[in-house]
């Protein structure tokens, strides 16, 4: 009786310790980690609960576009046209300038943040029926400066620039 109780207790302890094995273990290895330099590639090693299967995936590291202390100056030229039904040349200029400024802002947003492009082609009986390309840009543009404004033959051109510094993105 005494030995059977001891045997049952031993079996329970063995079962509990068997359940406590880790389900997964993730380690990140880097070739030149000893030197402290940034890794060109990150290697992720995933070890399953069995400890037998090993999956290695390469995660490319994000490149630094702006070095510390560096600045990038982005310059664009936006174009705008005055509407046909303006009451005076001054009004035409003001409206065209506003349109050109919006265009310049859009160009800055495109350069800094990027453009989303969706395309769709409809082909019927081996002929292209309709081809559509949609582009969208959405961003917040701050501290853009107007460099020069020109108005010639109904077309207004606004040159704008924005200075991007590393400090703006480091926080």
């Amino acid at each position: 009786m005494k030995y059977s109780l001891l045997f049952i207790a031993f079996l329970t302890v063995a079962a509990v310790t068997a359940d406590e094995t880790p389900s997964s273990n993730i380690t990140i290895n880097c070739e030149n980690a000893k030197t402290g330099a940034a890794c060109s590639k990150q290697q992720t090693q995933v070890i399953d609960s069995t400890g037998l299967d090993t999956v290695v995936t390469d995660v490319p590291k994000k490149e630094d576009f702006l070095a510390k202390g560096a600045e990038v100056r982005i310059s664009v030229i936006g174009q705008g046209v005055a509407p046909m039904n303006t009451s005076s040349p001054a009004q035409a200029y003001a409206l065209a300038k506003r349109a050109a400024t919006a265009d310049a802002y859009r160009l800055l947003a495109e350069k800094v943040k990027g453009v989303r492009i969706d395309g769709q082609d409809l082909i019927k009986n081996m002929m292209v029926q309709r081809s559509t390309v949609r582009t969208t840009v959405q961003a917040m543009v701050k501290n853009a400066n107007v460099v020069e404004t020109t108005f010639k033959e109904g077309l207004c051109e606004v040159e704008m620039e924005i200075v991007l510094a590393h400090a703006q993105f480091s926080n």
Partner: protein, 137 residues
């Protein structure tokens, strides 16, 4: 010992100072301003500037300011329209939200760009010859 006239003069000047200070404090008020314009196919289609006095106090601190010339009035709309270019340049520098969509169907292009200044609280100090506008963050 001071004379009565001297004391009266002193009291009067103190009252003047208090009145001046209180009038300066009272002339500072807060406004909510939003701005939006739509450009379609490189032509300005719609422009809206909304100005409203706040009904409750805004929180935050001022971080930038613009001085606009005025003729002593406290009508912000009028002051802004008198200094339109300066004010819109200031608003552009504060930061605008850009939404642009362009569609090209069978090689024919059309585009719409919307620039928006989200509703922002501005503190405005009206003085004799100018108004100081500062956004609150």
């Amino acid at each position: 010992m001071r004379s009565r006239d001297g004391n009266r003069l002193g009291t009067r000047s103190i009252f003047k100072l208090v009145f001046l200070f209180s009038s300066l404090v009272l002339s500072a008020s807060e406004y909510l301003i939003s701005y939006r314009y739509v450009v379609q196919d490189a032509i300005l289609r719609n422009e809206t500037l909304s100005i409203a006095k706040t009904m409750q106090k805004c929180s935050g601190s001022t971080y930038d300011s613009l001085l606009l010339e005025s003729d002593g009035g406290d009508n912000l709309k009028q002051i802004i329209f008198q200094n339109e270019d300066k004010f819109f340049s200031f608003i552009h520098a504060l930061g605008l939200d850009v939404k642009h969509s362009e569609i090209n169907t069978n090689l024919q292009n059309s585009s719409t760009t919307i620039l928006t200044l989200k509703t922002t609280c501005f503190k405005v100090d009206f003085n004799d010859n100018f108004a100081k506008i500062s956004p609150l963050n």
